[in-house]
Amino acid sequence: MVEWSDKERGIINSLFSTLDYEDIGSKTLSRCLIVYPWTQRYFANFGPLYSAEAITTNPNIAAHGVKILHGLDRAVKNMDNIKTAYTELSVLHSDKLKVDPDNFTLLSDCLTIVIAAKMGSAFTPETQATFQKFLAVVVSALGKQYH
């Protein structure tokens, strides 16, 4: 089981309570599709993805990015049991969406960078480390039900 200090819980809760989901969610997914173009394979039906501009202005991608970001709420509410909390979502990503779990790390790296760009120096090394620890646990949980 993952151990969280009070400080770490505080950092995660504070980060998510002030998060602008619309802004961060849309930016994160579009950034992932631009920086790691092979991830576009999962979004063939989402409309134009032929350039960075097309991706950044694609409303379907923006909306989906927000949806994905809200997917993390489950982890924030269940920090002591993230693995179990994501069983269903893991099965979904494995069996229905058929996403290579290595891509979860790419998306979480992009999320880290988008938040760093927004928060500037307030995204301290300690905040970064805690956030990355949190994301790593979620990524691991999402990959657990693959078979």
Partner: protein, 150 residues
């Protein structure tokens, strides 16, 4: 592969950042030490506490090397030859190895922390395109450094 446009963008960004080499380099190092404590083992001979003289000078050294490489990316193998030897034979820092669990690829982890540092420093200016180009450049840089490992 870095396009002509991307090479020009990388060159421009690092030219602008060179005056801040100390600040950016030391921050990237510090971020790596906090997120990946195992990386500290390679610096046991230095005082790498936040704000220390060693951290600042070492961070500066690293950024200046990255900035120098950015001047002519096509010549990375030549520019980095001395550093290749240093990292592979003397320092023996765990190189990036895309098939291994991230916790053991320190060159790659440093690259990630450098990207986070740049994002925090440049804000909106660290656009998705700049991010993609920078990620590719730092990967190429790390790959050249790792060339002499075996």
């Amino acid at each position: 592969m870095l396009s002509k446009k991307e090479r020009a963008l990388i060159k421009e960004i690092w030219e602008k950042l060179t005056p801040e080499a100390e600040r950016i380099g030391s921050e990237a190092l510090l971020r790596m030490f906090v997120s990946y404590p195992g990386s500290k083992t390679y610096f046991s001979h230095l005082d790498i506490s936040p704000g220390s003289a060693h951290l600042l000078s070492h961070g500066k050294k690293i950024v200046l090397a990255i900035a120098e490489g950015a001047q002519d990316i096509s010549q990375l193998m030549v520019t980095l030859a001395p550093l290749q030897t240093l990292h592979a034979y003397q320092l023996r820092i765990d190189p990036s190895n895309f098939k291994v669990d991230k916790s053991v690829c320190f060159l790659e982890l440093f690259s990630h922390c450098m990207l986070v540092t740049l994002a925090a420093y440049m804000g909106d200016e660290f656009t998705p395109i700049a991010h993609a180009a920078m990620d590719k450049y730092l990967s190429a840089f790390a790959a050249v450094l790792a060339e002499k490992y075996r």
